[in-house]
Symmetry: C2
Amino acid sequence: MSAVKYSRQREAIKRFLTSRRDHPTADMVYCAVRSEFPHISLGTVYRNLALLAEQGEIARLRLGDGVDRFDPDVSPHHHFICSQCGAVRDLALGQYAAAIDGLSGKRIDGSLVRGSVAYCYGICAECLGQEKG
Amino acid sequence: MSAVKYSRQREAIKRFLTSRRDHPTADMVYCAVRSEFPHISLGTVYRNLALLAEQGEIARLRLGDGVDRFDPDVSPHHHFICSQCGAVRDLALGQYAAAIDGLSGKRIDGSLVRGSVAYCYGICAECLGQEKG
DNA sequence: AAGTAAATTAGGAATGATTCTTGATTTTGA
DNA sequence: TCAAAATCAAGAATCATTCCTAATTTACTT
């Protein structure tokens, strides 16, 4: 019903996100985009991230740490989240997750599977290196 | 450091949860336990659910819908969440998820995997039955 | 059974991420 | 240039969850 119009703010948000591989949160996007739009509001950032995600231009990640993260890479891949520092990075799971990903479109116990979520958590290489020695 | 003492409230919370297979939220537990403890506070419910989860007596489910759910079944299994009605039910994924579950304890790209999260979403049988016909 | 230190509770305030509301500003097509 | 529709900034509102404090329970010890 509602046509999507261009906005400079949305372009800046998309541009910033595309330049990152660290899966920023809405607040990280907000802080970054403020250098270009000092008066942009957090609500605008949230609304545009939601819109971009709806349109499939970016992906919204819910990794259970209470904050949504956003990913410019919408190709099918998985993530690893460090329980210690919170860093999120891409994970090449390949065959490990292929099985569960392949359930989309199938029926299980009468329910129609539309998609799946799979990710790993633990301690990242950086945090491991700082433990004790 | 702090010894865990018995509390009637915690026992009631555990007892209620054990009687359920629908993965209640903290608020659902709160409402239910109030019939036995009319003055119990929501904070008490949250604190005890967290304590029970920490002790491994129950499992905390984070299925990305913004609310934590709790499961008396701590054996390894997976879940399906209906995008329409929000219902959560057990899913017998077996071999489908075995691969990703098996990553625990392994190293990937230098990171130590402690665990994984995997679940499916879609439309449950009940909601499918009510669509149109 | 009384005494007491430590854990737990009720109640409510505080937090934090996200969404909503409103009047002003931009965008877009005619 | 005009006007309708979408978007914006600013801040209030929401909602799940956590934190704080004084009063109550629990679990020893005698």
